[in-house]
Subunit: 434 residues, 2 copies
Amino acid sequence: MHNSDLMDKIVSLCKRRGFIFQSSEIYGGLANAWDYGPFGAELKRNLKNCWWKSNVSERDDMVGLDAAILMHPNTWKASGHAENFTDLLVDDKKTKKRFRVDHLSPEEQAKIGTQYTEPREFNLMLKTRLGAVEDTSSDVFLRPETAQGIFVNFKNILDSTSRRLPFGIAQIGKSFRNEITAGNFVFRMREFEQMEIEYFTTAEDSDACYEEWINRRFNWYTEHGIRKENLKLRKHDDDELAHYAKGCTDVEYQFPFGWSELEGIANRTDYDLKQHAELSGKDLRYHNKITNERFYPYVIEPSGGVDRAALAFLVDAYHEEEVDGRSRVVLKLHKDLAPTKVAVLPLLKKNADIVSMAQSIKTDLQKSLTCVYDDSAAIGKLYRRQDEVGTFFCVTVDVESLDDKQVTVRDRDTMGQQRVPVENLKRYIQDQLS
Amino acid sequence: MHNSDLMDKIVSLCKRRGFIFQSSEIYGGLANAWDYGPFGAELKRNLKNCWWKSNVSERDDMVGLDAAILMHPNTWKASGHAENFTDLLVDDKKTKKRFRVDHLSPEEQAKIGTQYTEPREFNLMLKTRLGAVEDTSSDVFLRPETAQGIFVNFKNILDSTSRRLPFGIAQIGKSFRNEITAGNFVFRMREFEQMEIEYFTTAEDSDACYEEWINRRFNWYTEHGIRKENLKLRKHDDDELAHYAKGCTDVEYQFPFGWSELEGIANRTDYDLKQHAELSGKDLRYHNKITNERFYPYVIEPSGGVDRAALAFLVDAYHEEEVDGRSRVVLKLHKDLAPTKVAVLPLLKKNADIVSMAQSIKTDLQKSLTCVYDDSAAIGKLYRRQDEVGTFFCVTVDVESLDDKQVTVRDRDTMGQQRVPVENLKRYIQDQLS
């Protein structure tokens, strides 16, 4: 399959089956904004819950945070965003279109001054204004990253949790960037969701810690179903690094539009905390109560995008197979990510006993698992419809079920079917899913 | 306890134990913005998950949605927010302070023209600007409610899910309002999180459906631990209703600062869909395929605030008790809301065998439950520390545990203790929690 075909198919499936819609579509859409429909909302919830479980709940050395999108403007002075979070742009004098200088070819760049205007800095932060009174109201920015919410809360978290190094703070939330070249579906949007960790350690341990997090984050994607051959690590060259950073490595995924960043893992040294300490005048040093040393810890930052991870999981899960001479589209999503775990299907939708049995099975299962009930087509078609949205199991209730109290459980990936007694069904499914 | 004392105690507990911090506090804070610390982030996650489970996962007639905060500006023309989502404000000519006219007493209102300026409309939506090219860039608004994201996606959801009436669409997400009189901790913030449902039904069934949702939403709060005597329903008077609304009832909670709205349930008739259909020129009618009728369904909207619900749960859970002549502060949070389910405590933190046993218990439990390990104080103090953050169970490993392979499980609310074999511990706790 051509890569552009694959991307088209995924965008089309996402719309048709309710994963992702163009935002405000009835008004012609808002450029590069997307809404998650019923299946997409569940996929995204599952993805974020998996990340939280792996990185917070199951670890001894992590805590969570949920900071506001709107922050004090000094935050962005300290972080450097107010001054440096800019793209260098030129205008085409004829077409009036605007371009990023670093996206022009060397030939095009040579035309700066003739075809293009002189480059100008353009800050990528979205600005708004709070408060009603004109003279005291203030410009504030929508955060361009969640990370700074962690740094400004570092002291409060230290004081309230008595954490000892090394430890990390994790956060999931929306960020906003006024990208000039947004695009590629949900890969690059102006409004997007991040899952970020700031892991605090000593300068001495920071190199080893950096390597550990690179491996851990790479493995997280493969453990959740991404094929290893579609992932790679890309170490940043020295000239790509921010001046304060000691190292940065991207986890890249082979999207239909090319290898692109899923997540970056950086050793940010003690830059951020020092910057905030200097501008705020607050002592943000860590206090080692055993040695009585006070110092600024180093920070390892694994920073991933929720939306691009969702896209990677969708792309990687998408399969077209030939079954009995017909094409089957199946989303082989990891069990923890699949939006629906079980579809309960009555073989005969007009048989009241079958319907009643199927509905009671669904009512029981949905206390602990995401379930749907579907009677909108013949069984073969229902299977295909569930395959297409990645439903892990189909449970079919047929006439025989009324006698033998057994149902047919069909596996999404193997299409293998098995008769399971209704009384064991919940345990059977839970065992398969755990 | 005086109510203002209670509120002070809760704000103080929230900061001291890492539930809620003032946003950007190191820079003097951002007015009426708050960040959720480690325990607060878990509480809020639990609260949202409980809501999603009750209103989406466990129901047959609901689907989820996760729409963007930034929407096409026409959305707010159709909804009426562009024109009508305003406060009428006056300025005090001397002090230059600004007030909402409806917050002035009749005596103060009589001074409009003398002490105060003439009232002016002030739109509460926060505005920002997207795009780099000046002449094509556009003003967009941060959504003041999540509801409109549901209405503009109504057709896409109908088309992709084949839902039949009655059914609902549920969404959780941030909204923004430039409130003049924000305040009361997280009760009224300029950035806040909503959990909203739009439940679509026929005009004929809408009254009964409205009553059902009022009861269902009232009960949701009591089922999650709010005492009934601290909740009441307040039916809006006819002159409070929006011109299109057929009815609206608030679920109010008795906060320390008075009875205030937790959630509103409204019968919005077919107003919203019709407005969007008219402005977009799209046919947003529901098609009943059996009768072949096409019509605009009525909408029942239960709209709650995540932050004010979190505050209500905290306030209601806060207890001070006298135990053995000492004061005990305990957050009696519902088991599904408690940020931490289990604290594992080694009785002797220098006994390597006890520590090893305690850590292995924690590692095992945290695969399915939120756990902490704490050895920072003597056992009595550790119990109090866990009570104060609402930890459901404390599991203590002592010298005897090494011999008899049993641990002490202490219940937060009764303080009753029980010896439980380690091999049964997980099941024991899970049974108590389910």
